[in-house]
């Protein structure tokens, strides 16, 4: 290897390393900040404590918001997963022209700028009295989670041999049972990853919640956003660490499932 190519190789690796640092450092730095014992955001922190975690767990408003967020994410996932599964199943098996349109329509929540989704949902909810209600949040987040489920399940169905289901049915099983006992178990990893992504997307969703959450139904992200707009409260660091850890653990579950499948 010549000197010049070794040098350019080194420069290349340095660039990759720098970009990876750029991606990772901001997230890693929150961890020590969340254990700081200081009100000020000095780094490294002057000392360590659980003060900001106590501030979170000792504050009824934060806890209520966290409870709302988790409830909404769970219920939205429970709605989006079966609805998305059924739609993906229909699109996979039907050759109707309408299905092509449907596929594009179900991707819309990922394509339309989220602020437009937010004011649109707000507009509808203001007329039917769903603003600041739990069902309103759940349905809106279910809609936002649908594309994740549809995409994951579609990929699963594409890799599944549908004749197995036909065999089960030709042996006298009804369709619902053949789907539940033959198809579903085999594409479970896809369904679970779709559901997990829907859950995380609901948990992290901020902008739609800004418009339609409120009153007793504040979400965690809405409270975080309004707090951050005014001040840099270190409690946010503690919440951020917990939120990130939750998402990350869930993603690990998905990766584990996918590797088992492979």
């Amino acid at each position: 290897m010549t000197n010049r190519s070794a040098l350019s190789r080194l420069a290349y690796l340095a660039l990759v390393l720098l970009v990876l640092l750029f991606l990772a450092v901001p997230i890693l730095i929150i961890v020590p900040m969340s254990f700081s014992d200081s009100r000020f955001l000095a780094f490294p922190p002057p000392g360590y404590s659980l003060r900001w975690y106590e501030a979170f767990f000792g504050n009824a408003d934060w806890l209520d918001a966290a409870r709302t967020s988790l409830t909404v994410a769970l219920l939205a996932t429970l709605l989006a997963t079966p609805a998305g599964f059924m739609a993906a199943y229909a699109m996979h098996h039907s050759r109707l022209r309408a299905m092509k349109w449907l596929r594009t329509m179900l991707l819309l929540p990922l394509m339309v700028p989220i602020i437009i989704v937010a004011i649109g949902v707000f507009f509808v909810y203001a007329r039917i009295g769903l603003v600041a209600t739990l069902p309103g949040l759940v349905v809106a987040h279910a809609m936002l989670g649908l594309p994740y489920v549809v995409i994951a399940v579609s990929a699963g169905l594409a890799g599944f041999d549908a004749t197995q289901e036909m065999v089960a049915r030709s042996l006298g099983m009804n369709r619902l049972r053949s789907v539940l006992t033959v198809t579903l178990p085999q594409i479970r990893p896809s369904v679970v990853s779709g559901a997990v992504f829907a859950f995380i997307s609901s948990l992290d969703e901020t902008i739609v919640s800004l418009f339609i959450a409120g009153g007793d139904n504040q979400t965690l992200t809405k409270r975080m956003f309004t707090t951050l707009r005014d001040e840099i409260d270190p409690t946010i660091a503690a919440i951020s660490v917990m939120l990130t850890a939750t998402s990350f653990l869930l993603v690990l579950v998905v990766i584990g499932l996918q590797r088992k499948k492979a």
Binding site: V19, L108, V139, S247
Partner: protein, 294 residues
């Protein structure tokens, strides 16, 4: 969806069966379709109508966008940030995706992990992290001062620069993941063939690898650009009230001024840009590949 002619024309059993099958499939798709229709398609149609309405048909909301300075500036700023972010993300993301695609398995997982952790971290959390890092007394300024490189803190946040940094950080994974997905599928044999035929590494890269990675480049650039056009949280938190992007104008017109006419016209222009891009790209790539690179 169940609405069918009360007396269906005589049909052979197989046709009747096919029709029953169609009805079942439509019924299965109905819940998902209805939710998106009611909460997304319907309001978008209403926004469109509203943008031409002020007691009667009017074009004044659009006239305002094209004549009032603030609207023009907002769109110009949004496009400038989006173009810059997309180019930077491609420039910085391509080498990382390339490394991930060519490294041995163990290192590949490390690189992908470092890309995926921020990808699945809340946008809010990341804005907060950048506030810690970039503020006047933040880590970066303190570090540069300690190293003697600067005398007084640099204004790194609460401005356009801060917005750009935060935006780039959030969108970089959206560039890297589709690039990686494409590069990973490029057969190694092709590159070997290229060099065994006498091509220099740079030549093989330019003539074989780069063209084959083009679908990933297109998918990544599309998603980064479109997402950036609609960015809201990051400019709101890191822009210091001076970096007004399109989404913020929409939000303010609704929240503060209750001006649905203005908000809807701006929304329609934004949507038109986004849909035009997707329609164009959709002719070359399946949209699913663009919006969901995972």
């Amino acid at each position: 969806m169940q609405a069918c002619a009360p007396t269906p024309p005589p049909a052979t059993p197989s046709r009747r069966h096919a029709r029953r099958e169609d009805r079942l499939m439509l019924a299965l798709a109905a819940p998902a379709a209805l939710v998106v229709l009611l909460l997304l398609v319907l309001p978008m149609a209403w926004l469109f109508a509203q943008s031409f309405y002020d007691g009667g048909f009017t074009l004044q909301h659009y006239r305002r966008i094209f004549t009032e300075r603030i609207y023009f500036d907002t769109f110009a700023l949004t496009f400038r940030i989006s173009v810059a972010t997309t180019l930077l993300a491609l420039l910085l993301g391509y080498p990382v995706a390339y490394a991930a695609a060519r490294l041995p398995q163990r290192w590949r997982l490390v690189v992908l992990g470092l890309v995926l952790v921020p990808f699945w971290t809340s946008v809010l959390v990341r804005a907060y992290a950048w506030l810690i890092l970039l503020q006047r007394t933040g880590v970066v300024n303190k570090g540069l001062q300690a190293a003697g490189l600067i005398d007084s803190p640099l204004p790194l946040v609460h401005n356009e620069l801060g917005t750009m940094i935060g935006t780039l950080h959030i969108l970089l994974p959206f560039m890297i993941l589709p690039l990686y997905a494409t590069m990973q599928k490029i057969p190694h044999d092709l590159l070997m063939a290229g060099s065994s035929l006498g091509g220099s590494p740079a030549h093989v890269f330019r003539r074989v690898f780069l063209p084959l990675s083009l679908p990933g480049i297109v998918a990544g650039c599309t998603m980064v650009f479109v997402l950036c056009l609609g960015f809201y949280i990051t400019p709101e938190l890191l822009g210091g009230g001076k970096t007004i992007m399109v989404s913020m104008v929409v939000s303010r017109n609704v929240e503060l001024y209750n001006q649905w006419g203005a908000a809807s016209a701006v929304s329609v222009v934004l949507l038109a840009c986004v849909f035009a891009i997707f329609a164009l790209i959709g002719r070359f790539l399946p949209l699913e590949r663009v919006v969901a690179p995972r």
